[in-house]
Every structure is written in C-alpha cells, then in structure tokens.
Point group: C4
Chain length 232, copies 4
C-alpha cells in the first residue's frame, strides 16, 4: 500500500463532498490534502468526473509542484496549491471551485462585505478579492503566479491566512483552505452561503450597513476565541 494512502483517502473524501454540497458542475473543482512530514499533497486528477474517482487515482505532488506518485495528470490548478502549501505552513487542505455565488462575486471584482453574523462566525474581515493578474504573470507560469497573486494580496492587505481562510481571485473563482481538507471544503460551503446572502442583502437594501465591530468580534470569538463556547 502506498505510504500516501492516508492523504489520498482524505483528498478523495473531500473531493466527493463538492458535488454533494452543490459546489461543482462536472469537474469544475478540486481538493488537495497535505502531509507536512512527507512534504507532499494528494490532489484530484485533471478532468476526471467525480462519479469515476477512486482514492487510488489521487496524484501525489510535492510543494514545488512535481508529481511524486500517480499515473494520471494532476489537476491543472496543482501549482496554485503547491505555492500556497509552500508559503503558508499551517494549512493542510485547499479547495478550488467555481461555485455559483462566490464566482459571481469574483467576476464582479468586489470583496464580499461582512453583513451578518453568519459571516462573522467564520471570519472578521470582508472576503478578500485579489485583483486579476497583470498580463506578464498571465502569459508566464499562470497557475504558479495565481498562488503568488493570492499571497501578495494577503500581505498587502495585512490579512492573516490563519484567520481568513478564503479568497476570491478577480475574474476567476474562489480558493479556500484550512487545517484539514475537510475544513477547507467546509469553508467553501460557508463562502458560497455567505456570498449568496450578501448578494440578496444588497438587493433588498442597497444601503445595508456592514456589521458593526462589536458584533464581528463577539461572533468570531464565540466560535474561535480562547473562551469559545461553540461546539463540544
């Protein structure tokens, strides 16, 4: 048995959650699961329908983006995953989807304003939207540069990837991450729900105010602070 079996299994299960949660059409998404000790991650093969996937088909890739094990070509977004794993040492799962509402915000090139406690339960900032890359980056090593575009945007905006586990890439679509592949998938579903409700909020009241700071702080700490009292 492959010594990577555990992350293949984890990546497989997380990938299979995407169609169940209504986050992908056809093969428009991918999840990876990393093992920091082994210095690799397992990722969905490119263009394979979810109904045909098996754990064995997951491709093992190192943090430079080189395939280590597997007979299939890895997801075309593999280098973006590799860059994020390499630079952000505390994440072990990454998800990319073209989910309807989050992608529509990305196409709109707008951050998603924090309008309510559903959002604040998960992050204290607006969901950031990295601008589209410049033409040089696009013509170059595109998926590799996509990872840097995300990292650079977080640095410029003073965002902490451990607190804000999601981003929109302008004109493109969302990426989310987390301590595990399962958590990264959870974040993708939360993002889609938050994106839909922010859209509706603005339609219902074009002057809807952002959530006030005291509520942002309260809800986030309720779930994530040192005195958190959500869950078991």
């Amino acid at each position: 048995m492959s010594k990577y079996q555990h992350i293949k299994q984890s990546a497989y299960e997380a990938n299979m959650q995407l169609p169940k949660l209504g986050l992908v059409l056809f093969t428009f998404g991918n999840v990876s699961a990393a093992d920091r000790e082994l210095g690799v991650f397992a990722i969905k093969p490119s263009g394979v329908p979810y109904s045909d996937l098996s754990p064995e088909e997951m491709v093992i890739v190192d943090f430079e983006g080189n395939t280590v094990e597997g007979s299939l070509r890895p997801s075309s977004d593999t280098k973006t995953h590799a860059v994020l794993y390499k630079h952000w040492s505390d994440i072990n799962g990454i998800v990319h989807t073209h989910s309807t509402y989050a992608t529509s915000w990305a196409q709109s090139q707008r951050c998603i304003p924090i309008y309510g406690t559903t959002h604040a339960d998960h992050l204290t900032a607006d969901v950031p939207c990295a601008p589209p890359m410049d033409d040089k980056m696009i013509r170059g090593n595109y998926e590799y540069e996509t990872g840097f575009q995300i990292i650079n945007h977080f640095e410029q905006e003073g965002l902490d990837y451990k607190e804000t586990e999601m981003v929109l890439v302008g004109n493109h679509a969302p990426f989310t991450w987390g301590k595990t592949a399962e958590k990264a998938v959870y974040n993708s579903a939360v993002l889609e729900a938050v994106a839909q409700m922010a859209y509706l909020t603005e339609q219902i009241n074009s002057k809807a105010p952002r959530l006030k700071d005291s509520l942002i702080k309260k809800h986030f700490e309720r779930k994530h602070g040192p005195d958190s009292y959500y869950g078991q």
Copy 2:
C-alpha cells in the same frame, strides 16, 4: 428512561426537519421543545451534525439557562431560548436558523412587508426586524441579551407574540416559535417562503403596495379566527 424523554424526542424530530426543509447548512440552526410543568426544555447540543444526532443527546435546560440533564454542551443560543420561554408563557417550541432569504432580510435590517395572502394566512403584521443590540449588550451576556432584544422590540412595537410567531434580529438571523416545536419549525419554513416572495415582489415591482387591510383580516381569520374554516 429519562422523565424528559418526550421533549427530547420532540426536539430531536423537530431538529431533523430543518435540513429536510432546506433551512440549514451544516449545524447553523437549533430547535428546542419545552415542558411547562417540568419547567425545562430540550435543545440540540452545540455543533453536532444533524446526521449524527439522536434523541438521547438532546440537552435538558431550565428557564434560567442552566443545564439539568445531558453530557453535551447545549446550543450556543440556549440562553436566548431560555429568556423567551421564561417571559412568554404560551410557547413550547423555538427555532433559530440562518435560512437564506430570512437571514438576508435580517442583514438588510428591514421588516418584511406583508405583500400577499401567503403572508396574511399566518400573521397580520409585517415580519418585525429587531435592531442590532447596542455595544454594551453585545459585550455582556450576549445570547441572554438577544432574548431581551426580541422581547423589548415586541413591547415597543405593540406586537403580540401569540399572533406574530417570528422575528428577524438585525444583522443576525430569524427566530420563530409556537405552541409546539413542530409548529415553530413550520413557522420557520413559512417565514423563508414569505421572505423569498417579498424579495421577488420588490424586484418585479419596486412600487408594489402592501396588502390592504380587508384582505389581511380575511385571510388571517380564515385560518385563525373564531370562525376559521381552514383545515379539519
């Protein structure tokens, strides 16, 4: 067998209705069922997925918010339930969700205008939206104060909780209640449908008029008046 078995069963069944009715993502909701004689209510444990729930896991809590029976931590919204049960003596079920359309109205900080008979079949008023709490309340005993924010808003607006069995909490999400936990869940589903149709109504005609008083009265009495003739 626990002497609270009947409300544990009732709360369990009502909680399990939420995902079936499309009212919750993951664990973003909770239902409680009260027994007035025993002075307690059964409520969902915090952060437990619906697929893993069982009647035995429901937590028994008194109307001060103290856990009476159960090994798991109760829902983080438990104190809000406790306050409502304590002050509103005629309700035996409460539901909290982050359902898409109702939450979007709450984020918009607008009451839902009564635009049609679907709404009037259930309540004669606009769905009230309590304003976000002041910072002192938020920093204090937050969930406890959420209950008071709702009660105070009903008093200020002259609303009767027995006639208007639902509220939006500004920037947050809806609460509904009723004579039973099952009725409270029913009200949550009705609220979501009414919220979606009110949103669409305004998109289709930004000058859509509120329902006229005679129709409001007729439809509500048809279902709820002394000479009601709906149902068996």
Copy 3:
C-alpha cells in the same frame, strides 16, 4: 365503490404532482377534477399534508359548492373552483398554488409580459392579473367572489378561458385550469417557469421588448392551431 371513484383518483394523482413539481410548500395548493355528466368535482380535503393523502379522502362537491360525498371538509378554496366550473363549461380540472415566482408576480399586481416562445407555445396573451377585490367582496362570500373576480376580469379584458388557461389574482396567487386535472397541473408548472424567466428577463434587460406578433402566432399555432405539428 363510489361512483365518483374515477375523479377521486384523478384529483388525487394530480394533487400528488404538485409537491413533485416543486409547486407547493406544506398544504399551500389544491387540485380538483370534474365530471360534467355527474355535475360534480373531486377536490383535496383542507389542510391535509400531501404525504397523508389517499384517493378515498377526496371530497365530492357540486357546482354550487355543496359537499355531496366525503367525511372531510373540502379545501377552503372550494367555492372558487365551483364558480369557475359553473360558468366555464369546457374545463374539467382546476389548480390553485402559491408557487414562488407566479405568486410574486401576483403580489406585484402585474401581468406577466410575453417575452419569449416558451410563453407563446402556451398562450398568446400576457398572463392576466386580476386586481384585488373591493372590500365589500372580501368581507362577503370571499372564495365565491374570487371566482367571479377571475371571470369578470376575463370578460373585461376580452380573454377566452379556453385559450388563456391561467390567471394571477392580485396580492394573492395563481389559478390554472384545463380540459383535465392533469393538464391544469401542467399549466401551473408552465406558468411558474414562464414567471421565473420573465422576472430574469427584466433583470437582465429592463427594456426587453415583448415578443413580436408574428412569433406569438407562429409558436401558438405550432402547438395548438388546426395545422399543429407538435407532439404525436
């Protein structure tokens, strides 16, 4: 066996289509099926969940609205059905729902403009919207008057109920009808689809033109004219 068994069965099957087609929440809808020879129709009992229905429970009512057979109370909208059957002799099935998009147009008090061939395949006119009734009618025999409101609106607008098999009642919801209960249900589903697409059409282009007359005529005749060539 009841001599009304055939219409009970027909009404039962048609009622059960409503939740399958996504046209009702809980019990917010009803279908009836008439037998012109016997001078009666079978209709859903009031407030009974679809999951509990059986053909035997359908209530038999004459065209004056009097119950002829059945131990349950008929739908609260029964008198509206009776009036329509009495005055429109060529229909044998009627449906009432509160389906999301059609009801939102009704609440908006707007006719649904004919924007495309999906609409024209079924009717050549805008979907009519009868205005809300005056207060005297509402306070009187309400459901009976609802039927007359529909009939009067068709007369005033010069509409033929055999060509336009659907109507919105302002502030309320849609009614559809047809040669059979099954056809009336079909019309309710078509109306909901047309209502959703007309809403989206106006959102995408606020100056979208109505369908031109030559296309209206072509598509309707393709399905319904003497030289129709749709279907087998």
Copy 4:
C-alpha cells in the same frame, strides 16, 4: 437490428441527460446525434415525456429534414437540426433546450458577456445572440429558417462554429452543438451555468468589466490549445 442503432442509443442517452442536469421542464428540449457516413441523424420524437423514451423510439432523419426511419413524428425543431448539420460539417450532436438562465438572456436579446474564466475555459467570445427573425422568415418555413438565422449570424459576426459551440436565438432559447451529442449536452450545461453567473455578476456590480484578453486567451488554450494541459 437497425443500422442506425448506434446513433439512436447515443441520442437516447444524451436526451436522458437533460432532465438529470436540470435543463428541461416536461418535453421542452431535444438532442440529436448524427452519423456523417450514413448522412442521417437520430432525434427525439416530438412531445414524448423523457420518462417514456426508449432508444428504439428515436427518429432517423436525413440532412434535408426527411424522416428515414421511425414511426413517430420527430421533434418539431428537426429542420433546425438538419440545416445546421448540412452546413456545418464538423458537428455530430445538437441540443435545444429552454433552460432557465440561457433562455432569459435570449428573451433579453443580449449576448452574454465574457466575465470570467468559467466562460473562457469554453469559448473566447461573448455567447452570441442572433436577433429574432423577420416576419417573412417566421411565416415561412420557420424551423428551417431558424437554422439559417443562426448560420447567417455566425457569418456576419465572423464567428467560427468550431470554437463557439453555442448560440442564443433572440426571444426564443439556446442551441448548442459539438463533436458528439454528449459534448453538445455538456455545452448546454456549461452555457446555463455561465448564463446564471453573468446575470449575478451584473446584479452585484453593474459596471463589472469583461475579462481581459490575456486571460481569455490563457484559459481557452489551457483547455483547447495545441499545448493544452487540462484533462488526461
């Protein structure tokens, strides 16, 4: 066994995908599959519900629109398919639906702007919208002329049907095509997703910019260029 069995089977399977992908209500759609050697295509019979279809019922038609084999009447849109097969020699599958979002754009008589990479992964142009036909064409051989309207629009706009495998017909609905019937169905689902996201993008940001050329080129070539690296 019919010598056309392979395209009957292919057309049958592709037709059955339409309801699974949520692209049709009732019988509002049809797929055909062509065999260039035999000079014919298999197409859905007119007005037959998807639940009642079988491969044997597919009708075999030549590129002039004449029925070659089959006892049922072919889809009323058959002549449109025939014209497209006759003039565009590299396609072997065609789909027509009235899917919700694509049809709403068609009714709006607007091309769908290319707003993101989901769109660019499939085509480099806006989704074209052919204008409604003139009255003479409509009153004449309507479905035949619909085919020419599409072909003429592609010529006028300098579009290549091998690169842009989809079109909206103004006031009507979409057509898609491809190397196989399966690919044409895939394109219909992609079009519906792109249509929904373009609608939402404009609602979220009425000044959303089109995707820039370098990104259009990059994403399209990633999937379709000579150095494509998507899929296996």
